[in-house]
């Protein structure tokens, strides 16, 4: 707790020349970073339980590739201001595609959902590669989307919309948390959960849709930031032990704190700002190994 307050203080104040810069540039960046961190940590946690797969992360079901594809398409066609909207539409279309693919053949299970997500994600990755190949001039922009960038420059109008979206995301996050007690029962197996009166399929659908919307929003605004969603849930589970009730909240908080720390490093470690997605892996991998070694 103390650590997060200190890191937020440094994030806002380190190297800032005056109050104007803190209020107008650093604070919006902090809000965006918090949102992305919350979502990645929280959704990562839900996905790992819902898919019963320790390798699951918010990007595994292809949503990120679809959103990135939409964003890149908007950038390349010159509609720069519409990038978040295109990204979000990309995420929604991917979500519908993945969901309907996982129902092909008349039945649905979590393995099929996982496979559909991975396949759709690969397809969109190929489309992204194609766009990059033909639009090498826009490479700076594309790198921002593919490696993450929290230093988005908002216009006043964009900022207003973003505040609304931040509100919507918070509501969705709370909803996801309320579902997590049901979700925890899923870890005992689908059959047991059904016998306890949980509509497993409906629950999966709800979580999939909420998570996809949240992930789509983060990719649309900040690009793809890997690692947080995969590792933070594991770290929190290792640290918090058996109490499953609040691991999702801890995951979300942990995601936010780790992301703020990584973005702080990305901003200041070299003269030129680094893509935050690179830093998350650099910082996250050793940290993960350390936690794993300590908890053997």
């Amino acid at each position: 707790m103390m650590f997060s307050v200190i890191i937020i203080y440094f994030y806002l104040a380190f190297g800032a020349e005056n109050l104007h810069i803190i209020q107008q540039i650093r604070l919006p960046r902090l809000v965006l970073t918090l949102l992305v961190g919350f979502v990645l940590g929280g959704v990562g946690h839900s996905f790992q339980i819902m898919l019963n797969n320790p390798l699951a992360e918010p990007y595994i079901l292809g949503i990120s590739s679809g959103a990135a594809f939409g964003s890149i398409l908007a950038t390349i066609s010159g509609m720069f201001i519409l990038t978040p909207i295109f990204g979000f539409i990309g995420a929604l279309l991917t979500m519908i595609l993945v969901w309907s693919l996982s129902h092909l053949g008349g039945f649905f299970d979590k393995t099929k959902l996982l496979l559909s997500g991975i396949i759709v994600g690969m397809f969109f990755s190929a489309l992204i590669s194609l766009l990059i190949y033909f639009n090498q001039r826009e490479i700076g922009n594309i790198i921002n989307i593919l490696m993450g960038n929290l230093g988005r420059i908002f216009t006043y109008n964009e900022w207003k919309y973003f505040i609304i979206i931040f509100g919507i995301s918070t509501v969705l996050m709370i909803w996801l948390f309320l579902l997590s007690s049901q979700l925890n029962i899923l870890t005992t197996g689908d059959l047991v959960a059904e016998s306890l009166g949980i509509n497993v399929k409906k629950l999966r659908r709800k979580i999939f849709i909420i998570s996809s919307i949240l992930t789509g929003i983060t990719v649309a605004y900040a690009g793809i930031i890997g690692f947080i969603g995969l590792v933070v849930p594991h770290i929190t589970r290792m640290l918090s032990g058996g109490n499953k009730r609040f691991t999702m909240i801890l995951s979300a908080l942990g995601g936010a704190v780790l992301l703020i720390f990584c973005d702080f490093i990305a901003m200041h470690i070299t003269a030129v700002e680094l893509p935050v997605g690179v830093v998350t892996a650099f910082i996250g991998c050793p940290f993960f190994i350390y936690i794993m070694a300590k908890n053997k």
Binding site: I25, M79, G140, N144, I153, Y156, E273
Partner: protein, 283 residues
């Protein structure tokens, strides 16, 4: 059986004949000098020193002077079609730096003669013009162009200018990128009497922080790329309203300063510097 063998032999000979025919160079195609130019800068320079008639291939970006547009395209700056280049049978291919370092290597592997020029400063540009003149045999014209460029540059430098306005050049919008004094654009701005706020950067063209721009408080903002970024969108950026250039409405886009005039190292840069000097002197 015999018939079939005979037939396949016939087809084989026919194919061989076709291949041989397509290989033999048609005699009319071989003329003295055949140049391919892969960089818009070099195409402009060669055109300025009367070498256009020998250019047989250009890349899609070579759009000035306008008569280059009728010449065969061999791809674009970052990706050329090697088969097309070979088929045009060039005596010399002009290449540039950056992505084209690799292209130069590949062409050398194919035994195609290349000449690489990547002028990074105004002086280097003038030297390159003289060297290219020697290479293509229009030395006289090239020296004339180079000499008059030097005279023009001196004139611009001598022109009295009051206080140097601080200038922020944005060459890319997401992430925002600017130029250092070591870059060509930076030197052009400096020569025209501007004071670049990012004179020192780790690279010639580099990503910069929004807060650094606000902190430096430039009096003039020049946007070179891409065209859909308007002055209006810069004014609406959160927190940027305190910048002097925005308060005084001194943001210049492609409408006021054609980016090609200040980014490309070509004789047209004189025109670009004159425009900039005029803008810098406005009060």
């Amino acid at each position: 059986m015999f018939k079939r063998k005979c037939f396949s032999k016939f087809i084989f000979h026919l194919l061989l004949l076709a291949i041989l025919l397509s290989c033999s160079p048609s005699k009319t195609e071989i003329s003295k000098n055949r140049y391919i130019v892969t960089s818009p800068e070099l195409a402009e320079i060669i055109a300025a020193i009367d070498g256009t008639q020998n250019i047989v291939g250009v890349t899609a970006e070579c759009n000035y002077p306008l008569n280059l547009e009728q010449i065969v395209k061999v791809g674009n700056f970052g990706k050329v079609d090697f088969e097309k280049i070979i088929s045009l049978n060039p005596t010399l291919v002009f290449t540039s730096g950056l992505e084209q370092e690799l292209l130069t290597n590949e062409l050398q592997k194919l035994d195609i003669p290349t000449a690489q020029f990547y002028p990074k400063s105004i002086d280097e540009m003038v030297t390159s013009i003289r060297e290219i003149g020697k290479l293509i045999g229009t030395e006289k014209r090239a020296n004339f162009v180079a000499d008059s460029l030097q005279i023009e540059i001196e004139k611009i430098k001598e022109k009295p200018i009051g206080e140097k306005p601080s200038v922020y050049v944005e060459i890319y919008n997401n992430p925002i990128m600017s130029v250092s004094d070591k870059s060509f654009v930076g030197e052009v701005v400096q020569t025209a009497g501007g004071n670049n706020i990012f004179s020192e950067l780790p690279r010639e063209y580099s990503r910069v922080k929004a807060e650094a721009v606000i902190g430096a408080n430039p009096e003039i903002i020049i946007l070179t790329c891409p065209p859909e970024i308007t002055a209006e969108s810069i004014k609406n950026r959160k927190g940027w309203e305190v910048i002097s250039a925005i308060q005084n409405n001194r943001i210049y886009t492609a409408n006021e300063v054609n980016p090609d005039l200040i980014i490309r190292a070509t004789p047209r840069v004189i025109e670009g510097m004159k425009i900039l000097q005029k803008l810098f002197n406005e009060k």
